[in-house]
Symmetry: C2
DNA sequence: TTAGAATATTCCTTGACAGGAATATTCGGT
DNA sequence: ACCGAATATTCCTGTCAAGGAATATTCTAA
């Protein structure tokens, strides 16, 4: 009865949870780029750039288009839409409507105590 | 001129990029819980639950309130607000307004011809 | 103070993964 | 067919982190 799968794609989160990869994603936010451009702007060596791009691509964050020698990478919209939906499912939390810790404490207390004096 | 830091907290992303921890976060979406409750509902052993909660807590995703023996964990709003802002910065991508690959290809072509002559 | 419940911490082992260096592949131009 | 540019892949190594098991800590109650 427990929902044992998260409501968000883990491979995407994992792909984003790396300094260089999140920088790549932010770079591509402003438009598609080739591997060389990405490597240059982030001060990465080309092989590392390719490797990170592979991870992002495998996770579905990116897509590639071949242009002769070059590969042009761009962001795919779907993962960000999915992430947006997921974050929105926390709107109650963000709006901070969850401060009734006191009520919860009282509930715990009731559960434990066997009806005292009345 | 290169923004060499991401616009989102990496420790938060790293904290979320784990199966059990993202499940914990989704559990707490519906309200604060104690360690024992979290461990039970996710089928985790208590030490693992505590360890994951520590990671989430250190990253600022959670906060704790002590209640005698127990620790009640709840989500903090700020990280999710920050994540929401970050995702929103990709609205162009989500709206798919970025399909002018052609224009980019032409730009590349120009770059090549102009840099050749000097 | 002792017992027991709830939680945290430590130690260990193992697998994943990032970076470096070198090499392989693919393509266009000549 | 060759060369050089752009990109991908492989191998190696060190580091980090997750899970298991055991133990330490903290608190309440009696």
């Amino acid at each position: 009865m427990t929902a044992d799968n998260p409501g968000i794609d883990l491979t995407m989160l994992h792909a984003l949870a790396d300094p260089n990869r999140v920088l790549i994603v932010e770079l591509l936010r402003d438009g598609p780029l080739t591997v060389g451009e990405i490597a240059e702007r982030l001060g990465l060596r080309q092989p590392q750039a390719s490797k990170h791009l592979k991870v992002l691509n495998d996770s579905g964050v990116l897509e590639v288009k071949a242009d002769a020698n070059r590969r042009i990478y761009k962001l795919r919209p779907e993962p960000f839409q999915a992430l947006d939906s997921w974050v929105k499912s926390f709107r109650h939390v963000m709006e901070d409507r969850f401060d009734n810790l006191e009520g919860y404490l009282r509930e715990l207390q009731n559960k434990k105590t066997t009806t005292l004096e009345e």
